[in-house]
Symmetry: C2
Subunit: 301 residues, 2 copies
Amino acid sequence: MSEVSWIAVDWGTTQLRAWALSAGGQVLQHGASARGMGSLAVDQFEGALLELIDGWLPVDRITEVVACGMVGARQGWREAPYAEVPCAPQALARMISPEVSDSRISVSIIPGLCQRSPADVLRGEETQIAGLLAQWPDYHGLVCLPGTHSKWAEVRGGQVLSFQTFMTGELFALLSGQSVLRHGMQGDHPLDHAAFDAGLHAAAERPLLGALFGLRAEGLLEGLAPGAARSRLSGLLIGQELAGLPEHWQGLPVCVIGDGEAAERYRHALAVQGISARTLGAEQVTLAGLAAAHEHIRGGI
Amino acid sequence: MSEVSWIAVDWGTTQLRAWALSAGGQVLQHGASARGMGSLAVDQFEGALLELIDGWLPVDRITEVVACGMVGARQGWREAPYAEVPCAPQALARMISPEVSDSRISVSIIPGLCQRSPADVLRGEETQIAGLLAQWPDYHGLVCLPGTHSKWAEVRGGQVLSFQTFMTGELFALLSGQSVLRHGMQGDHPLDHAAFDAGLHAAAERPLLGALFGLRAEGLLEGLAPGAARSRLSGLLIGQELAGLPEHWQGLPVCVIGDGEAAERYRHALAVQGISARTLGAEQVTLAGLAAAHEHIRGGI
C-alpha cells in the first residue's frame, strides 16, 4: 500500500470530510464526521480533525493538511480573509495556517471569495471552481453549485469574475419543514417529475411570495398529494433561482457541480430552459481543487 | 350596566379573542387567551371558550356566540366549508353550529372563502371584509390585510371577486429567526426607516431568492447593523408582495386593515409607490363583521 503523502479536508458548517492521498493522487483513506464548524469552539478544531485523521498520519515526518470551507470563517478555526473578485478562485499566496499542538501536522486553510456589489461571499466553492479549472483551464461560462446555499459563478480566463448566492436549499428546508406548508408535504417521497416541472413553470408565471400559499390551498381544496406538493415547491424555488440569474449571464454555457439528486434537478431545470449543462462530480472537483492548493504549498517549500 | 346580548369571537390558529356586546353594540367585556385552534383537540373547544366567557353569560336565556376564523377549519371545532368567490364575504346562510353541552350558549361559525384558480383560501378575513362593507357598502377596490399570511382581496358590488395570500409574515419570522440571516439581525430594534425603504427599492430590482443572502454578506463585509438588516428584510419582503399583486388590480384604491406597526409599514410601502391607502382598525372591522352575522341570526329567529 502507498504511503500517505498529504491530507485533503473539506470542512463545512455541518460536516467535516477528509481524505488521505498518496503522492500520486490516489485516495488511500477517507472519512467524515458531523463535527462541522458550526458545532465547534476555536479550541476544538484540532481535536475534531485528529479524531478523523490520527490513524492515517505517518510518524516520521510532518504531513500537510489542506482545508477549505467554513473552517476559515471568522467563527471558524482561524479566519482566512476573503479574496475579492475578480480574481483566481484560490488565493493561494494568502492561505492561513492555524497553530497546532500536534507536531505531526501542518494545516493550511484556503481563503473564500467576496464580492462588493452586490455583496456576496463564499467559502469552499472556490476550491471546487479551482478543481473544475484544473480539468478545463480555459473554461468560460457559469458554474452552478447546488446546496443549502446555491452558488453561481461566472468563470473566464482562469478567474472568477462575479458570483451570486441563492438561499434555495435553506428556504426549501424551512418552508417544507417549519412553515404552514409542512402540513401538506410530510413524509419522504421520490421526486414527482410532473409536479416538479409544474413548479418550474409556475415560477416563471408568478412571483414566489404569491405562489407559495397556493400549495397549501390546493392541498385543502383539491387534495394535492404530499409528494406532489413537495416536488412542486422544489420546482418553484429552483425555477425562481434560474429566473433570478443576472441578465448578462444569459447565453453562457453552464457546468453543474454535484452528483446527487440536487444536481440532477438543476440539470433538468436547465434542460427545460433549453440549456444543456455539463456536470462534474462534487468530490472529484473538491479533491482536484485541494490538490492544486497542495501543489502550491509543495512548490513553496 | 347594560346586559350582555351576544358574544363575538375571533378564533385564530394561535389566539382566541372574545367580546361581550350589549344589544346596542357596546363592548361590555372582552378577553383573550392563547388557546387558539392549533392547540386544541375537537373536544376542547367548548371548554376553551367557556374559560373565557363563562362569567359573562346571563343565566336565564341562551346567548348567541358568533365566531369567525380557523375555528371553522377542518382541524377546528367543526368544519364550516368554504364559500367560493365571487360571492358576498360572509356566507351567512351556511353558518355552522357545533353541538355544545352547556345549555347557556348557541354557537355559529362563519365559513371562510376559497378560490379555485389560482387556488387560495382564507378564514377570518371574510368577516373583516364584511365589517369594511358594513361601513362602506359601495366600496370598490382592494382590501389589504397584513398578517402572518397577508391577504389581499378585490371587492366590488358587495362581493369578493378574487383574493390572494402572501406568506410574507411567516417568511419574515422564519428568515429572521431560523435561517443563516438570523446571525446578522438578532435582538429587538425599532424600524430603521431608511433600511426599510432600501429593502422596498431592492425588491423592485432583484428577485427575492437572490437578494436575501446579500443581507448576510453585507453584515460580514460591511458591518450592516442588525436593526438595519432586519428592517431591510422587512422592506424586501413587503416590496416583493406589492410587486406580486395581479396586474389587473393596478389602479384600484386600497384600504389597509390593521392598527399596528405592520399596517403602518404597508401604508408606507404603498405611499412609496404613489398609492394613498385608507386604513381601518382591525378590531373595529372584525366586530362590525361579526355584528353583521349576528344580525342575520337574529333576523332568522
